[in-house]
């Protein structure tokens, strides 16, 4: 990536732009890619993937399968989304054919991989769709992609993994696990002087250079499988190098704050409030184009506890009429409410061309688990205008349609030309034709 502006003029430009016009931020976004932005003011596409862990209450979350199209009756569990019904699509019958893990709602959700695909290994995964998107969309933003998750073990029905994201090698990618950490990464300004930060970057490079020296020595004499293991280390160092290269480019560009600027979240946030703040931070970060790809592995156990439940998320997922089903339905409602709030936020943010952030973003909420231990018909809501979907409908695909067909469609719909993803066998054409 090249920049036509030298540091001093870039700074000058920034100063003048903020002094002269109080434009909403996205309109002044062009400082990084000034010439390009001026020529083509089309806002870029964004992706948000929200993984909710254990499945939903099937009796009250899914629309009737016979009641398809635009006039479908919104089920009770989705009631809080009523005002957005024209801007969202519910899709039924999507599934990952290989997943047999009844407690893994996220591990293969965005990958569609077969755990046992590799003989001699008891676990295998492939790249997740968010990372495919990030490869195209993440080049011009400060962060290629941002993964969010929560602190603590897997008590929420996600399965192995550190986030929803799996890199090109199918290895788990780390996440920011608290709203405070996310806030600082996205919005906190590093107050150290520029010279100091330049020196720090140089130092970090020589740190990498130093550990690589040792990695090369370590590699000697290793067996093939051990070398593969060590490759994760090399890969990590390469990633940091790329990140540093990017950081260098962005060094003199201050982190942008939307108006109103987010404030540092309370450290003790848990459950519903934690999720809500994460949603707000995502909206704010998308607004200032800090990244274009988010994935969020949401807490469920602490979510239902923060709503007053005294049972575990797993216990809830095995609901039967009575307390457990009540909790499960309350959770569905709260989840719909949170999503409605997120949509509100995205709709309220204007882009340079007059469209809203929502118009250019694709948000997917779902899980690999339908409800209880069912893995067919993964709960799936897609919303936002980023992928050009004809929203407002309830679509029932053929039974066992690969979930990856949806991911493939979203990629292509967002201008990321792809032939396949995971076990996809085609696009979900009905998404785009009313």
């Amino acid at each position: 990536m090249t920049s036509p502006l030298t540091p001093s003029t870039r700074r000058g430009f920034l100063r003048s732009s903020s002094a002269l016009v109080a434009l909403p931020f996205l309109e002044s976004l062009g400082f990084q890619r000034f010439a390009k932005a001026a020529a083509a003011p089309t806002p870029s596409k964004r992706f948000v993937f929200l993984g909710m862990g254990f499945g939903v209450t099937k009796e009250s979350w899914y629309p009737d399968q016979k009641d398809v199209g635009a006039g479908y009756e919104l089920p009770v569990g989705l009631a809080p989304l009523a005002k957005h019904r024209d801007d969202m699509t519910i899709i039924q019958n999507l599934a990952n054919q290989y997943n047999n893990e009844a407690h893994w709602g996220s591990t293969f959700w965005l990958t569609g991989a077969n755990r046992y695909a590799e003989a001699g290994q008891s676990f295998h995964n492939t790249v997740s769709v968010d990372q495919v998107a990030a490869e195209s969309l993440g080049q011009d933003t400060r962060y290629t992609s941002v993964q969010l998750s929560y602190k603590g073990g897997d008590n929420s029905g996600h399965g192995p993994g550190q986030s929803l994201a799996w890199n090109q090698q199918g290895k788990p990618m780390a996440a920011l696990t608290t709203p405070v950490a996310a806030f600082h990464k996205l919005f906190s300004e590093d107050n150290t002087p520029l010279e100091q930060r330049q020196a720090d970057l140089l130092k970090q490079r020589s740190v990498l250079d130093t550990v690589l020296e040792d990695a090369k020595t370590t590699k000697r004499g290793l067996t093939k499988s051990d070398q593969d293991k060590l490759d994760e280390y090399f890969q990590s160092i390469r990633e940091i190098e790329q990140r540093l290269a990017k950081e260098k480019e962005w060094l003199e560009v201050p982190k942008q704050l939307p108006d109103p600027a987010p404030v540092e979240p309370d450290k003790s946030l848990q459950g519903v409030e934690e999720i809500k703040v994460m949603y707000d931070l995502m909206a704010a970060a998308l607004q200032v184009d800090a990244t274009r790809v988010f994935s969020y592995r949401q807490p469920l156990d602490s979510m239902i506890r923060s709503m007053g439940a005294t049972i575990t998320a797993h216990n809830m997922s095995h609901y039967q009429p009575g307390n457990r089903m009540d909790v499960s339905q309350q959770r569905d409602l709260k989840q719909s409410e949170l999503l409605a709030h997120f949509i509100d936020r995205l709709k309220g943010i204007k882009e340079a061309d007059g469209s809203s952030l929502f118009d250019n973003t694709t948000v997917t909420l779902g899980s690999n688990i339908h409800s209880i231990h069912y893995l067919t018909n993964c709960p799936t809501i897609v919303t936002g205008g980023g992928a050009g979907i004809q929203h407002g409908r309830h679509i029932v695909a053929a039974p066992k349609t690969p979930l990856c067909n949806l991911w493939l469609s979203l990629l292509n719909g967002s201008g990321i030309a792809s032939e396949s993803h995971g076990d996809s066998n085609g696009q979900l054409e009905e998404l785009f034709t009313a």
Binding site: N155, A174, T210
Partner: protein
């Protein structure tokens, strides 16, 4: 990864009986089911029709490839979900279906396991989180909680499994950060050993002032409210100093809730003597000890002068202490201690607390309780309703004497080992010395391998640029040292092979063996004695390895091994899944829960160190407990928080895993016990015969809705559907035997059933516990004692399960079929000695796979 490995046990057993000692080569669906497929499936799925692309006629009965396993998995899935045969086609008879489902799910487990068998190849692993913390501690002398590093157990297997221990870019940065924090803590010293400070605290003084102020305020507001109430009503509350009527009611309510209790507290003459520990409206009273911000890090002693008050039971005489928690009313628990002097508070109890540079500097001391404010408030409210004020105080803390920091040596040993020629404050040629320090530290950190000169050069160059940037010697040296702690040579337990040996196995070098042994038993690097033995080439002398293994096992550092192995083998994270309801289980607070957890580890430690056989863990006439747990179990009282053997009579439910509170708590959700969870746990870990994983897409039972049934009756419904029956037939009857234990592991004779609508109880019933049931092999039992006896008969299966876990943990890869002969050899070898758990571990260390790199 979830370990599915038990089914093959029975298969193996069969194979062995049949004289085939070789490991299984493939999984196979018994051909007897061919008829079922022909009868019910071929109409659509034979070679001719191939409906849906599925041809069952030519499908091999052998599950010998990823593809054939996949197809059979699909067959199992559609049968489980009831999708096939279609509703309008003839359905399988229940008996046929149960048999087919059972064989299919078992064989798929076998196939998955076979197909993912590594064939004995261990993937090089990096230090896991525990090992990283321990290793940094052994090098720097400070303990850093690497809480930002991702958990290594997320993938479900052991945290020593190399192939599941990933590495990411963020992790590299976390390692650097943790190492720097540790170095900052470690190098926080001056030439002078810090002089301990002493502070005497009379904690009641400020607390009484605070309560006086609070109660005066309550009274003042209440009086204003009453003044308005008693007025003619012509003037608004505001005139009397209260905002509005809402505020009036609020003021009255909190006055009624709290005032009497505060007054009672303050009017109690004992409150002038010390802090009375009791529940108050906003949590409990406690003592707060502040460690001055400028006080240097180290171990501090708190002498607590306390005594129990009149009416206190033995169980009321425990104090707990810790740092302030995230929320008011919570603590980050450090431990508990019993106050044994009953008459006066002359003899203090002594608490030792660690103080670090960046850590918290406040210690809270209170009577033991559930760790949340709501629990205290609920207790308070219950008393208030009955008595008009809160509970009576149970203990008094007269004063606390703070003394510290204490350091055994000065400068700390780990620091003087780094600055091996003298500390940083008096060095003539710093640059030369820095290089020596870096090289020496890297040598130690890398354990078995000498770091390359080029690496040392680069590290030294970094030191130089740090000093060029104006940093002092002791600061500049931290950068290269931290980088060493994030380098592959440190992070990976590499065991390189010679080029000509690639693809074959090769014995570990003595140094590699020492490292493998100490990480196996200590999760930490070798100590001096082990290193010296390895360097001298003595480790493979007759008896030497055995001697060192015994020595490492008897050292307390092997707690790392015992707790990590037991925690992961027995799936003990379940103990932390649930919060126990403080109203239902007031005694089961964190102090008891942690003691119950330790009981599992300490019992295993006892069995290992006293050369006892594994069967002691299934049935024993003793428990290994501390004072608190002995009280909780109603055993004769003992003194002291350490664990020791306490004999119990044969008719005691305690003794062995099945009598442990932790085990029963793991089989509950904090409110209710779960027959299924407990049954699965016993079949999986004690009988080493785990059921297949919970299958997806099985239709939910609906018949039992709305009825008030005992858990046993509820589960009877499991037997009605073939998909459920095939597994639950094996699991549930085992679980019945443990019905006498409530969720917190206390004995019960009856069950109180409730049916709720929202929060309202609509139906209630009490039923007697019926603990009769049977094991999967059909052996029946009448009650819990019968279950325990039957389970103990399977001690050999249990021992095999332990060995499988040991092999998996110790070799750092999933246990596979190819390990069966190893397992059997170890069993035989230990049995030729005394068959003790200790001999099993010794035999494993002495085995080829442990001493080879492959």
């Amino acid at each position: 990864m979830i370990r599915y490995r038990s089914i093959f046990l029975c298969l193996t057993a069969l194979a062995l009986q049949g004289g085939r000692a070789s490991a299984l080569e493939f999984a196979e669906v018994p051909e007897i089911h061919g008829q079922i497929l022909a009868d019910y499936c071929f109409e659509c799925h034979d070679s001719l029709s191939e409906k849906g692309g599925i041809d069952l006629e030519s499908l091999s009965y052998r599950l010998d490839s990823v593809e054939s396993a996949e197809t059979w998995q699909k067959v199992l899935n559609v049968l489980n979900s009831g999708e096939m045969p279609p509703d309008d086609e003839p359905q399988l008879k229940d008996g046929e279906k149960i048999a087919l489902l059972r064989d299919l799910s078992d064989q798929i487990v076998v196939a998955r396991e076979l197909l993912s068998d590594t064939g004995g190849v261990t993937t090089m692993r990096r230090l896991n989180k525990r090992e990283y913390e321990n290793t940094v501690e052994s090098l720097l002398g400070v303990r850093i909680e690497a809480e930002d590093l991702p958990s290594d157990t997320n993938s479900g297997g052991f945290d020593t499994n190399g192939s599941a221990l990933f590495f990411s870019a963020d992790q590299f940065e976390q390692y650097l950060k943790v190492a720097k924090t540790a170095l900052d803590e470690a190098f926080l010293f001056g030439p002078e050993k810090p002089k301990p400070i002493t502070q005497n605290l009379e904690p009641e003084v400020s607390l009484n002032q605070f309560y006086e102020k609070t109660s005066a305020k309550l009274k003042e507001n209440f009086d204003k409210a009453q003044a308005w109430r008693n007025s003619d009503g012509s003037k608004p509350p505001k005139h009397f100093g209260i905002l509005d009527e809402f505020e009036v009611r609020f003021v009255e309510r909190i006055y009624n809730q709290q005032y009497a209790t505060y007054r009672r507290y303050l009017d109690d003459p004992r409150s002038k003597e010390g802090v009375l520990l009791q529940e108050l409206f906003n949590g409990t009273s406690f003592v707060r000890v502040k460690i001055p911000p400028k006080a240097l890090p180290g171990t501090y002693e708190l002498k607590v002068f306390a005594r129990p008050l009149k009416g206190a039971q033995r169980t009321d005489t425990y104090l707990e202490y810790g740092f302030p928690g995230a929320r008011s009313g919570e603590i980050e628990r450090l431990g508990y201690v019993r106050v044994t002097n009953t008459k006066s508070a002359d003899e203090p109890v002594v608490l030792k607390v660690p103080v670090t540079k960046n850590g918290k500097r406040e210690i809270l001391i209170r009577h033991r309780q559930h760790n949340n404010r709501d629990a205290a408030r609920a207790t308070f409210t219950r008393y208030l309703a009955k008595e008009g004020f809160g509970p009576e105080p149970k203990m008094l803390i007269d004063k606390v004497v703070l003394n510290g920091p204490h350091h055994e040596t000065w400068p700390p040993r780990a620091v003087s080992e780094i600055f091996f020629k003298g500390m940083w404050w008096k060095q003539p040629d710093e640059s030369v010395y820095a290089r020596e320090i870096i090289e020496r530290f890297a040598n130690r950190a890398f354990r078995t391998r000498k770091p390359a000169d080029s690496f040392i050069e680069k590290l030294h160059a970094l030191y130089e640029s740090e000093t060029a940037a104006g940093k002092k010697f002791s600061e500049a040296i931290r950068e290269p040292l931290a980088i060493i702690l994030a380098s592959p040579g440190f992070l990976y337990l590499a065991e390189p092979v010679k080029p000509e040996k690639q693809g074959k196995s090769e014995p570990l070098s003595d140094m590699e063996l020492a490292v493998r042994l100490s990480y196996f038993l200590w999760s930490a690097p070798p100590d001096q004695a082990l290193l010296e033995a390895a360097k001298a080439g003595d480790l493979r002398e007759p008896g030497a390895l055995r001697r060192h293994t015994g020595r490492l096992l008897d050292d307390r550092r092997s707690d790392a091994f015992i707790s990590a192995l037991a925690h992961q083998w027995l799936h003990m994270e379940r103990l932390d899944f649930f919060q126990f309801d403080d109203r239902l289980f007031p005694e089961f607070d964190d102090s008891v829960k942690e003691s119950a957890r330790s009981e599992v580890f300490e019992t295993i430690r006892h069995v290992i160190s006293k050369r006892r056989p594994p069967i002691d863990l299934l049935n024993a006439n003793y428990v290994v407990a501390n004072d608190l747990l002995a009280d909780y179990y109603g055993l004769p009282p003992v003194e002291g928080g350490h664990f020791r053997k306490i004999p119990v009579p044969d008719d005691s439910p305690r003794g062995g895993f099945l009598g442990m509170a932790a085990i029963h708590a793991m089989g509950s959700d904090g409110n209710h016990s779960s027959l299924v969870e407990r049954g699965v746990w016993v079949t999986r870990y004690l009988l080493n015969d785990p059921p297949p994983p919970a299958p997806p897409n099985v239709p939910q039972l609906s018949r039992v809705r709305g009825k008030l049934l005992s858990p046993r009756e509820e589960l009877a419904a499991h037997m009605e559907e073939a998909q459920c029956a095939q597994c639950h037939q094996r699991i549930d009857p085992v679980g019945y035997g443990m019905e006498n234990f409530d969720p917190a592991g206390q004995w019960r004779e009856v069950l109180h059933l409730e049916q709720k609508q929202g929060r309202r109880v609509v139906k209630k019933k009490t039923v007697e516990v019926d603990a009769s049931g049977s094991l999967p092999d059909g052996s029946a039992f009448k009650d819990f004692y019968g279950l325990r006896k039957q389970v103990a008969k399977h001690d050999e299966a249990f021992t095999r399960g332990f060995l499988e876990a040991l092999i998996e943990y110790g070799l750092g890869r999933p246990y596979g079929f190819s390990d069966e002969s190893l397992r059997e050899r170890l069993l035989k070898r230990a049995n030729t000695a005394d068959g003790s758990m200790r001999e099993l571990i010794l035999a494993f260390v002495d085995s080829e796979p442990f001493q080879l790199k492959k």
